[in-house]
């Protein structure tokens, strides 16, 4: 595919992606920080739904031959544990993931531009440090390990089974707490204080008793 065609396709897919990220509210810092404090589960709902539909379309793609080959990333235990942990620290402090930073920029959050610049510096710093880090963290990969590969099974039955488990999980989550309860008045995932937090605030405001 030519670069121009790839850029055109990327733009069209990105506009759809950004539209859906905005409509789903998962780009909101209130949703992301709320998820990491286990006080708002909108992020997990979207994440699991996206994984479930991805599993189904990739399984169908393999079965029909439309998607003959998957593209899993190589396993690197140290890099993925440490890098993943650092990325998680960054997700909370930024209130964003690499993709949702751009959605925040698009809707106009002023701090998101700063996050974006920080992200570019972070990526560039890694690029310069990569030769140093490579012998420590980025070698000795056991390969592109997958669950179906380890179990010696074809991809599609495992993928469809896992997707079914995820759909069941989402159904249970919706029964436990409907998603609209986590939206917040301004659709930003910022929710009124819990009863417990209110009681705590009242206790702190009350004069101390001897």
């Amino acid at each position: 595919m030519s670069i121009i065609a790839a850029i055109g396709l990327g733009l069209v897919m990105g506009i759809a992606f950004g539209f859906l990220l905005e409509k789903s509210r998962v780009f909101e810092p209130g949703v992301i920080v709320g998820q990491m404090q286990m006080r708002n589960f909108i992020m997990l709902r979207i994440f699991l739904a996206a994984v479930a539909s991805g599993l189904v379309v990739l399984a169908l793609g393999q079965l029909t031959g439309l998607i003959p080959k998957l593209d899993p990333k190589a396993t690197l235990y140290g890099a993925q544990l440490l890098g993943g942990f650092l990325a998680g620290v960054g997700i909370t402090l930024a209130g964003a993931c690499p993709g949702t930073i751009l959605a925040q920029v698009g809707v106009g959050y002023r701090d998101a531009i700063v996050t974006l610049v920080g992200g570019l510096f972070g990526a560039l710093t890694f690029a310069y440090f990569e030769p140093t880090l490579r012998p420590i963290l980025l070698t000795g990969s056991p390969g592109k390990l997958t669950l179906h590969g380890l179990l010696g099974l074809p991809f599609w039955p495992l993928a469809l089974g896992f997707a079914a488990v995820l759909v069941g999980t989402l159904y249970a989550m919706e029964r436990w707490r409907p998603w609209r309860m986590e939206l917040g008045e301004n659709a930003d995932g910022v929710l009124p204080p819990t009863k417990r937090a209110e009681r705590k605030a009242e206790a702190a405001a009350a004069p101390a008793r001897g």
């Binding site: 990327g10 992606f17 409509k23 990739l58 942990f85 998680g88 690499p98 996050t115 972070g122």
Partner: protein
Amino acid sequence: MFGFKEKAWSPYLAGALIGLLQVPAFIFLGTALGASSSYVTVSASLAELVDPGIRALSYAGKYLDGAKNWWQVALVAGIAIGAFLSATVSGTRRSAPSPVWARALGTRNTVARFALAFLGGFILLFGARLADGCTSGHGISGIAQLAVSGFIAVAAMFAGGIATAMLLKPVR
């Protein structure tokens, strides 16, 4: 119910539609959705203006050219456009930092928020590049391919995210 003017769509529907974007990614480019490597493509391309030697680095060099790399740059640029369009039709454009920060940080000081945004963005992309992927590449794409790397990275991301969030003030 799921009109363009709605402020929020069901997270299940929106999430499932995001997952469908894997189809054009695999059919046209043979790869899955991702976002974080575009930061290397853009920052290394800018750095090349002042440091032509960056092309010689094997890691940075492989992100500078090619359809796949610039496809992903266009994808993340498109995210900003799509989010802008959606927020414009539903009246959810933003300006000041989210009110969640006043709660989580215990201050409305925007300088404090901007400093943390820079630091957060820096650690986020440094970590994501070290892990070779982010919430998109390892998360929605890696797990959808049953990749062991995806399960490890996502578990580590939630561990880091939750540990950090516990150090902030409760948001509700």
